[in-house]
């Protein structure tokens, strides 16, 4: 088994057919002349002489890790792991191998339509007179919208990120997100989980259409949650017997909500400030939702609530004080000071309060993500905890902890190789493996 390359979806008992199938496939491949398909047979890699940080277990100073078929096959101290005969040996002396980082909330690969802000009086007039259309898309699958770009993928590799959640970002009921492995630019091959969660935001951008305010938004969301429950119940009752009942009218909006509100698939609430967190917690309590909070850069201010609620947290490493915050209302100097000194300590405080969280790059470029991660560590976040918050913690939130988050045999081979400690200022990510596909970022002269 170990020695033989195989297609993972082929059951073992059909081994006899294997050569035939391979031939057939090759024939098809040749016939279609699609060169990418050649990558279907992934090389076996043996990374040797490297330091291994498996996260789930103690580090190994001089180790070997074997990657086969996109999965981690084995790892351990150099003297305990045999390099397979068919492996391509990669000398990784001086490098450290970590599990690839997971950013459990991004808006990558979305075509962002810059919303034109009205400037002149005429613009405002125009904005006001345009017939406003509701912009709610709970049924939207962001997967269908994304256009991955190689450049973006590589930029995030350099920041150590190998897995991302891509979530939609418009409206209140924004739609459903997808979990992607950054293994290239083909959406279908990248998908780890589709859909993952329904994303809900409290901030409305619209004028003129209900709800146009935060207070309206909260009421609107509650009403829709009640409606979805009633809709599901109505259908159930009608199926059991239509007697005395009106036939429930098909409603795509509520239809999309039912799996999340009734069947308790995850709902992610975007929390842009401390009060959003409380608003979300109240909704979770009222509707007994399976929910995740994201954004949360003021989470430390609601530590008491979060301790009680034990809701998974996706904390963005975004240190800009939110608009509503006191830190944003006492002048420019106070705002800058808060951005530099107060908000970076968010994660450290959560750690101290024993609240578990995953860190995300929401709203950040890859460079500010890396910079802010260092700032958070400087502000007291232990590097070990930071690493967990970007690996095992998000894997658990995503329900992918059997596949991702640590270096363990059988898990997906998402690895990053760094020169230096992952969170060091001068550290560089020099190689990345995603699904066992190798990306080389060694700079010339190194």
């Amino acid at each position: 088994m170990k020695q033989e390359p195989r297609k993972p979806h082929l059951p073992c008992r059909k081994k006899k057919w294997l050569p035939f199938l391979i031939l057939l496939m090759l024939a098809i491949v040749l016939a279609l002349t699609v060169p990418e398909a050649a990558a279907e047979v992934k090389p076996v890699y043996a990374l040797v002489n490297c330091r291994l940080v498996p996260v789930a277990s103690p580090s190994i100073e001089k180790g070997t890790i074997i990657v086969r078929d996109g999965l981690i096959e084995a790892l351990g101290p150099a003297d305990k792991v045999t390099v397979p005969a068919d492996a391509e040996v990669i000398e990784a002396g001086g490098l450290t191998v970590y599990p690839g980082l997971i950013s459990a909330h991004t808006n990558l690969f979305l075509e962002t339509k810059e919303q034109e802000q009205p400037q002149t009086a005429e613009d405002f007039l125009g904005a006001y007179t345009q017939a406003a259309t509701p912009q709610e898309f709970p049924e939207l699958q962001v997967f269908k919208e994304i256009k991955p770009k190689k450049q973006t993928v590589e930029a995030w590799h350099r920041a150590g990120v190998t897995t991302v959640v891509v979530a939609p970002n418009r409206g209140l009921f924004q739609g459903q997100s997808v979990v992607l492995n950054l293994n290239g630019d083909q959406p279908n091959t990248m998908v780890l989980k589709q859909p993952w969660a329904l994303h809900v935001n409290f901030t409305t951008e619209r004028g003129g259409v209900y709800p146009s305010s935060l207070m309206g938004t909260v009421a609107f969301i509650r009403q829709k949650f009640y409606d979805a429950s009633h809709y599901a119940l109505h259908q159930k009752k009608y199926q059991s017997s239509p007697r005395f009942l009106k036939r429930p009218e098909y409603d795509p909006f509520l239809e999309a909500l039912v799996p999340f509100v009734v069947d308790k698939k995850p709902i992610v609430f975007q929390c842009n400030n401390q009060e959003d967190i409380k608003r979300a917690l109240r909704l979770i309590e009222e509707f007994k939702l399976n929910a995740v909070l994201t954004g949360c850069n003021e989470a430390w201010r609601t530590a008491e609530h979060l301790k009680k609620a034990r809701v998974p947290l996706l904390v963005a490493l975004d240190f800009r004080p939110p608009n509503a915050s006191i830190y944003n209302q006492q002048g420019e100097a106070a705002r800058k000071k808060a951005e530099a000194e107060i908000y970076p300590a968010n994660a450290a405080t959560l750690l101290k309060e024993n609240i578990s969280f995953a860190l995300t790059s929401l709203g950040l470029s890859e460079s500010s993500f890396a910079r802010n991660l260092q700032a958070a560590i400087k502000a007291g976040l232990e590097p070990q905890a930071a690493l967990r918050a970007l690996t095992v913690e998000p894997a658990r939130v995503l329900g992918l902890d059997r596949q991702l988050g640590t270096l363990e045999p059988g898990k997906i081979a998402n690895l990053i190789l760094t020169r230096g400690d992952l969170f060091g200022e001068k550290t560089r990510v020099v190689r990345v493996l995603v699904d066992g596909i190798l990306f080389n970022y060694e700079e010339k002269g190194q």
């Binding site: 608009n323 944003n328 209302q329 006492q330 002048g331 420019e332 100097a333 106070a334």
Partner: protein, 449 residues
């Protein structure tokens, strides 16, 4: 554009209806002319006796007499002989103060701020040196008798909006027509420089830095306009001397700016931020114009420079938020205190029409935060008179000055004080107003029972 016109046409009858209703209401017989009523001619000899006198300049007189003749104060003192034939006004228990002067208001230009048919203070466009407040002043405004019944006898009425808002006027609050009210027909040109805050968003507004940039631009634009006016004048003069020279076409803006650039007509600069104030001081000095500042929210930060430049300040309404949080919650209240202590000449203003009556309370507010009470009183009487160059006529109780006298049952600036009588140029004015009239009207219901 087309649709907007049709829309306007569509609602034209409605607008007419509103105007018609308003006119009937404003001219309804029940209230006609009670707003402006001269109860006597002011020529007879008048003696206000047994009155406590606060002349504002000079010592208070615990009990004395004020003699009024031909609209002027003939004499005042503790032991004056009362000439025979004088009409005697017994004022025991009352205090005589000089009538107050509102340093900046929209009295007579804004009646009901939300009803545009009654609003005349804001011309369209940005550069309007040609518009004059006096020419639109509604002399029978319902706000004037109310202000008067709080002891205010004169006010600056200023247009607003744009960069050059127009020409302000100084009027007394009495007269059968707008022209009868005139003290100074054109008091000063009003220039509005950008404020500190963008929009109405309290502390979250723009920083002073941003404001300074646009003030830069505004002052550059003014400089250009002033230069154009000077060149216009020179070329017109040259063309008058030499008939062969082409004469520049008539230029309204330049024409109206001539008194300013010649230093004849002062400019009231509405300016708030410290940096903007400094820039404006430089501008005033370079342009050699007469200037008065208005608003000056952050004036206290550059009080020394304002004092050095000798520019008086009309304090904007204290019914406002501090421009930026960093200034501290009380910065607007401390501002007049600190300016006064630095030796800057200040006068308070209502910056309003419907709240013009609150002028004394702005002064008292500053006193609550440390302004000497007499200085506070001066800043609504003699200081504005000095700033507007009418201190020979009014602003204090002194022999020879106009008899603008207020008889109050207590401290002039105090909230609960009632004004018993007001004399403007010796004439006792009617203190009934819209408040008292409506109250009386509906009290009848109670009495009918």
């Amino acid at each position: 554009m087309f649709s907007r016109i049709t829309c306007f046409k569509k609602y034209l009858p409605l607008s007419f209806l509103i105007i018609l209703l308003l006119t009937t209401w404003l001219l309804s017989p029940a209230e006609a002319r009670t707003d402006v009523k001269n109860s006597d001619t002011g020529s007879a000899l008048l003696a206000i006796v047994n009155v406590r006198i606060v002349p504002v300049v000079g010592q208070d007189i615990p009990s004395g007499t004020i003699l009024v003749e031909n609209g002027k104060i003939r004499a005042l003192g503790a032991n004056l002989e009362i000439p025979a034939g004088a009409r005697i006004i017994e004022a025991r228990g009352l205090t005589a103060y000089p009538g107050m002067i509102d340093g900046y208001s929209s009295l007579g230009l804004v009646e009901i701020s939300g009803v545009s048919a009654t609003v005349d203070n804001r011309e369209t466009g940005r550069i309007n040196p040609q518009v004059k407040a006096i020419e639109a002043l509604k002399y029978d405004s319902m706000h004037i008798p109310i202000a008067r019944s709080n002891g205010i006898v004169a006010a600056v009425v200023a247009p607003s909006g744009g960069l050059i808002a127009g020409q302000s006027t100084l009027v007394k609050l009495d007269g059968w027509t707008n022209r009868e009210m005139v003290i100074k027909e054109s008091l000063a040109l009003v220039v509005e420089l950008p404020g500190i805050r963008g929009g109405r968003r309290g502390f979250m507004g723009m920083g002073t830095q941003q404001a300074a940039v646009s003030t830069d631009r505004a002052l550059a634009e003014l400089k250009e306009l002033f230069h154009r006016a000077r060149m216009y004048e020179i070329r017109r003069e040259q063309a008058a001397k030499n008939l062969l020279l082409p004469r520049p076409d008539f230029d309204e803006t330049s024409h109206c700016l001539l008194p300013v650039v010649k230093g004849e007509l002062p400019v009231i600069f509405s300016v708030q931020a410290d940096k903007d104030i400094l820039q404006t001081i430089r501008f005033v000095q370079e342009e050699k114009i007469k200037a008065i500042f208005y608003g000056v929210h952050q004036g206290y930060k550059v009080a020394g420079e304002i004092k050095k430049a000798g520019i008086p300040c009309l304090i904007g309404s204290l019914y406002d938020q501090p421009p930026v949080w960093e200034d501290g919650y009380d910065s607007l209240f401390m501002n007049p205190v600190l300016l006064n202590q630095a030796g800057v000449k200040i006068a308070f203003s209502s910056s309003s029409s419907s709240a013009a009556k609150d002028l004394p309370y702005h002064a008292a507010k500053a006193a609550a935060f440390g302004l000497d009470r007499l200085e506070a009183l001066k800043a609504v009487t003699i200081y504005p008179a000095e700033i507007f160059g009418v201190d020979k006529l009014m602003g204090s109780l002194e022999a020879g000055k106009l008899a603008n006298i207020v008889l109050a049952d207590g401290d002039l600036l105090e909230l609960g004080t009632r004004i018993e009588k007001v004399f403007i140029e010796g004439r006792e004015v009617d203190l009934s107003n819209r408040y008292t009239e409506l109250l009386e009207k509906f009290r009848k219901r109670e009495r009918e029972k």
